[in-house]
């Protein structure tokens, strides 16, 4: 990216185009060096409320560019997007949305990763996280929120990929607007040059044409002239019937490099001209402890060893190769400080949860949601059911191990790593090395999976410290054992649930209390069901292992709790699991339609095959409603996954095959956790260490998966990366109940049938 230096003040001519404000954001244009059109789409930093305006960094003149689009002299359209590509296909589909509005030839569209510069702050995404209900806020509140969020986003280094949000925010608000605005400017430039009305010019496949006069030209020919055209700040976007690329399963732009070994991931960094040394590390087995002393007498004699470091919160060996470093670091005798945590085993952790739940009792704790009077309704119910559910800690275990390459020299630091939060990583390094953020450059290629694991930057800090202490450019890699045992985790939790049923089995009251509430805030509320008396409470308790958002976050926990318990209510009412849910979805027509469809495609109402049974679950998360039916085969007494049917309503799906791929992936991820996922503790340290004991579903164990899509339209577009996961575990557990009569209130499942 050598013709763009984000943040640099452009020429007076460029800047004069970048000055129109709108409520949502702004869009500006300039001429590319070498000829061509450059569009910047950003969020308005200024703030009309006087007392807030001075607090916004840089004042009203400063721009916060979110994304860029350029059309160069070769007629290539490049979208430069701030989201990372970690397998979810974000890059490609954002390019697809841009190309459609622009009427570009899909084969001439490229997508690039935006560099980790403050100019690429993803404001919309920050806003969505902090206040999910303001995305469609009333007009009068918009400018305030925009200004505020710009500031917060900047300060919090929000350049994030996560929350199944790339299409919903950057795609809808930036890519499409840029494409539509650019198209209009190109048409305007051609109209002026040809002396014909703009309305008679047709754009298609990166060409402009005027049929009546027989003229045509490539976009490139008018790109520079287009930059002079007036910009429409709120261009009209295509409606679904006009889409030519959106809504179609266009092939992903990143796949060709991923099938011949040429795609570069963070761990593959081989910066030119640098003679890398390699570091392997050992972090404390018990969180919160540190390395007091180390006996490195054996390690220092091992081949390839360069330096051995006790950095307090980790020990590292730097060597000529990673393998030698890892052999040596495991030969060090480390004395760790003592932990004063009383939690030594998972039983201790569950006891901590139990204490908090006992203290909260029947109506204590912090209220998360309430409707009607659950306490009273429970007391007066014809019958009640109660259950306690538990879920364990889970590791993210992305296939690409945690890694970071750092080169610190001459007051500057270059970092190569796989990260979901490049600006946070940049801040961390700058803080550690005492540098300005501008002196730290984060290079971040493809991620080998993340699932939330790379939302933190502790490993980037470690690499920076080792580079600083040794003076070498160093590639630091965590072994699989380190990432399984010394990372951050999906939380464990316990949930106590009660339901009150009427004479006819109808669900009159629902109450749940649990100890962990992270986000999204609404995950713990069974909002789609019409339960007249609902109470959801949180009785906070501390976690022994540090928390990190794990694919679908709280939905992965609450989906299991809620959809298993609703199934219990259905059974207590003597009702079919699907029919019972349908009876509760009277106020949720979209959910009802999704559930009906999954019952249909799974053959729910047909008799079960020999030795097999089905379970169902429905969860709405990240704007997408997903219902799944899992069919288990219990013919040998252990649960085998035979089939999964999923129906999804995301409002509108931009790339159906890409969407399906994400849902299939979410299902496999969720079923893996349900079947095997568990981290045990011994003396406060995690027991599992690698894939032989932190097991994964493999080719011979995955079910057939069928995914059907409903485009209910006219609703904010929902996400794809996470929504497939939450229904998987409960649908699986419910299927096991249907097959065996055993209600599973804990996970994982396989060990309960060993």
């Amino acid at each position: 990216m050598n013709d763009l230096t984000p943040g640099e003040k452009g020429t007076k001519k460029e800047r004069s185009g970048l000055s129109k404000w709108t409520r949502r954001g702004f869009i500006g244009a300039g001429v590319l060096a070498g000829g061509g059109l450059l569009i910047g789409i950003g969020v308005r930093p200024g703030n009309p409320i006087d007392r807030l305006a001075p607090k916004v960094a840089g004042g009203a003149g400063e721009q916060l560019i979110n994304s860029w689009v350029k059309i160069d002299a070769d007629n290539i359209v490049t979208a430069i997007v701030p989201h990372c590509e970690m397998g979810q296909g974000a890059h490609s589909v954002l390019g697809q949305m841009l190309a459609d509005e622009l009427d570009a030839d899909w084969n001439l569209v490229r997508v690039m990763q935006a560099p980790a510069d403050g100019s690429y702050v993803v404001n919309d995404t920050a806003r969505m996280f902090v206040a999910p209900f303001t995305m469609n806020a009333a007009d009068w509140i918009e400018p305030t929120w925009n200004g505020l969020f710009t500031q917060i986003a900047r300060m919090a280094d929000v350049m994030i990929t996560g929350g199944s949000s790339s299409i919903r925010t950057t795609g809808q608000h930036s890519m499409r607007i840029a494409g539509a605005a650019a198209r209009k400017m190109l048409v305007g430039a051609a109209a002026d040059a040809w002396g014909v009305p703009a309305s008679e010019i047709v754009t298609r496949d990166s060409m402009l044409s005027h049929e009546a006069s027989g003229r045509s030209a490539t976009f490139a020919e008018f790109a520079s002239a287009a930059a002079e055209q007036p910009m429409d700040q709120t261009p009209v976007l295509k409606t679904a019937d006009q889409y030519r690329l959106m809504g179609r399963s266009m092939a992903r732009t990143d796949i060709p490099a991923k099938i011949n070994g040429t795609a570069e991931f963070g761990i593959d960094a081989m910066p030119e001209g640098l003679d890398l040394s390699y570091a392997a590390t050992i972090r404390p087995p018990v969180p919160g402890t540190s390395a007091l002393r180390m006996d490195a007498s054996r390690a220092r004699e091992m081949p390839g060893v360069l330096q051995i470091l006790n950095m307090g919160n980790f020990v590292a060996v730097v060597a000529d190769s990673y393998w030698q470093a890892n052999q040596a670091v495991n030969a060090i005798d480390i004395e760790w400080s003592q932990s004063d945590s009383p939690v030594k085993t998972m039983e201790d952790q569950y006891a901590v949860f139990a204490d908090a739940l006992d203290a909260a009792g029947a109506d204590g704790g912090e209220e998360a949601a309430a409707r009607g009077n659950a306490g009273e309704a429970l007391a007066n119910a014809a019958s009640t059911i109660e259950a306690e559910y538990r879920v364990p800690y889970l590791a993210h275990a992305p296939m690409e191990p945690i890694n970071c390459t750092a080169h610190y020299a001459d007051g500057k630091c270059d970092i190569w790593t796989s990260t979901q939060v490049p600006l946070m990583a940049r801040s961390e390094v700058a803080g550690i090395l005492g540098l300005d953020a501008e002196d730290v450059t984060i290079h971040h290629p493809y991620l080998g999976g993340a699932f939330g694991r790379r939302l933190g930057s502790e490993y980037v800090g470690m690499a920076a410290r080792v580079a600083q202490a040794t003076g070498y450019p160093v590639k630091l890699i965590w072994s699989r054992e380190e990432d399984t045992q010394k990372a951050l985790y999906r939380n464990a939790d316990t949930c106590r649930m009660r339901a009150g049923l009427a004479e006819n089995g109808g669900l009159q009251a629902y109450d749940s209390v649990f100890t962990q509430r992270h986000d999204p805030a609404e995950a713990c509320v069974p909002a789609m069901y019409s339960i007249p008396n609902t109470s959801v409470r949180v009785a906070e308790a501390p976690l022994h292992l540090p928390f990190q958002a794990w694919r679908s976050v709280d939905h992965s926990v609450q989906g299991f709790f809620i959809e298993s318990f609703i199934d219990e209510a259905a059974h207590a009412a003597g009702a079919d699991s699907v029919e019972y849910r349908l009876s509760l979805l009277g106020d949720s027509p979209r959910h009802k339609a999704v559930l009906e469809k999954v019952a249909e495609i799974s053959g729910w109402r047909e008799p079960a095959a020999e030795g097999r049974a089905k379970g169902v679950a429905i969860v709405e998360s990240f704007g997408t409603i997903v219902a799944e039916v899992v069919e288990v085969d219990m013919s040998d007494g252990t649960p085998k996954l035979a089939n999964v049917w999923a129906v999804c309503d995301a409002g509108y799906v931009m790339n159906p095959d890409g969407f399906r791929n994400q849902i299939e992936g979410g299902i496999v991820f969720g079923l893996t956790a349900a079947m095997y996922g568990e981290l045990e503790l011994r003396d406060g340290a995690i027991v599992q260490s690698n894939f032989h004991d932190y097991k994964m579903l493999r080719m011979n164990e995955v079910p057939e998966i069928e995914v059907a899509l409903i485009n209910s339209g006219d609703v904010p577009v929902g996400g794809a990366g996470e929504p497939g996961l939450p229904p998987a575990a409960p649908a699986f557990a419910n299927a096991v109940f249907a097959a065996t009569g055993r209600r599973l209130r804990t996970l994982p499942i396989a060990k309960q049938f060993a």
Partner: protein
Amino acid sequence: MLNRAIIAVSLATIMLSACGSSEPPQVVEQIVVREPGEPEVAIAAPLTDIALGEEAFQRCTACHTVEAGAPSSAGPNLHAIVGRTAGSLEGFPYTEALAEEDFAWDAASLDAYLADPDGFVPGSDMLIGTVTDDEERAAIVGYLVSLSE
């Protein structure tokens, strides 16, 4: 999916999140063995055969432990392997091939197995642990034998 610190914000105040005020990194101990490009340091004292064997065994530790009572990992715990009936460690999911064997491991059988696992016990699953180098293999076998003495 943000850290909690980013979520807590109110309309009335702008949250100026404290960033970058971490403590300077502390190096508790730093041992410089050699610089990149320099030759390896010579090992001070020659290793005994058993120590050589223990070194050679390092490559096996990815999957095997010899510590009494430690749980097996990808491969079975080899504590007191010499004299133990093949495929008999309780709880370990051996291949059928090895589980069905009833000889007791000794130096000769260990040597033959490590040289060619699938040849010695057809159907067993330890191809990756083949040790073709005669000296290396002898050292490993010697080490395992020494542990049971």
